[in-house]
Symmetry: C2
């Protein structure tokens, strides 16, 4: 008989995961991260963010070989030329991606092999708010709907528990549902 | 003497903009939009959103020739392989892009020609929250900082007013600062 220890589950190295958690428990200062984006207006509704460096585990992380460049835009009906997804759609993507990754990490930690994780997100907006036509509608989405379909080698109840735990731990779900203090400073020189 | 009417300012068709605002004032039901994203897990921290159709002005919008595909990932220290910016970084991009586009649209409406709009965003996170190591830190950013540098053919005070108005009208700034109700449903079949 051979005892097989599988440390990679769902593409996640669980040995490294548990090692990271132990390190952070022992040295909480390792948990202080700072993520960043720089953005530059190009023309009209077209602007581009560059994302690369971040601070993590008491040091500047320089492991990324290249920067990520993300182009934003608007469709014609909102006066753009579709140079990229629009900002509100990027927010839906951020939410979908964070919940999905959190589901995958939690499933991996709980020894659940996933087969598929799919989601559809909708955001309802009355654009009178952000266009300044009416004071009543809010600027952003009134509500967001997320529909997940998750399959894997665990009973339905266990898969549901993984999704519930992901909601309770997702960074972007927390930010989108609870809000974050944002400080804006402006130089006009 | 020739009176030149410039309708395109900062790449924004202001005649079309004011026409859109008049239409929406007359028919508020045109303002109901729904944006969407579908996401599919690929492996580990890698997942991909597809964004194309949306509902606007009482109809399904089919003007986009192609879908936008957005890949998310995590850096090595967070158990990924950098298949894309991470979800929290995408949220920073969404915020930067929305404030920037709102600045450009408002400047265009107010006859301000912009030369540049640049921003740097930072998000501070204690990852003990989202990793489930400690109950005290929240999962998401504790705070977000946004530094804008805006130049154009207007007095400093007017440029500052444009940024202030953009904060008051940006859809993503509203969502990130105030939060949005999110309903999650799950199918595990």
């Amino acid at each position: 008989m051979t005892a097989v220890t599988e440390t990679i589950r769902n593409g996640v190295d669980t040995e490294k995961m548990f090692g990271t958690l132990d390190l952070i428990k022992a040295q909480p200062e390792l948990a202080k991260f700072q993520f960043r984006a720089t953005n530059r207006w190009i023309d009209g509704a077209h602007n581009r963010s560059t994302i690369r460096g971040f601070y993590a585990a008491c040091a500047e992380d320089t492991s990324r070989a290249e920067a990520f460049e993300l182009d934003a835009g608007e469709p014609a009906i909102l006066l753009g030329t579709d140079t990229g997804a629009n900002p509100a759609e990027y927010l839906l993507h951020a939410l979908a991606a964070c919940l999905t990754t959190t589901i995958v990490y939690i499933a991996s930690a709980r020894k659940v092999k996933l087969t598929s994780v799919e989601s559809t997100l909708t955001g309802d907006m009355d654009v009178r708010g952000c266009l300044g036509v009416d004071e009543e509608p809010r600027n952003g989405f009134e509500r967001i709907g997320v529909s997940f379909r998750v399959t894997g080698d665990a009973p339905a109840e266990k898969l549901r528990e993984v999704v519930e735990r992901a909601k309770a731990r997702s960074a972007v779900y927390d930010m989108v549902t609870n809000g974050v203090p944002v400080a804006v400073d402006v130089a006009v020189d």
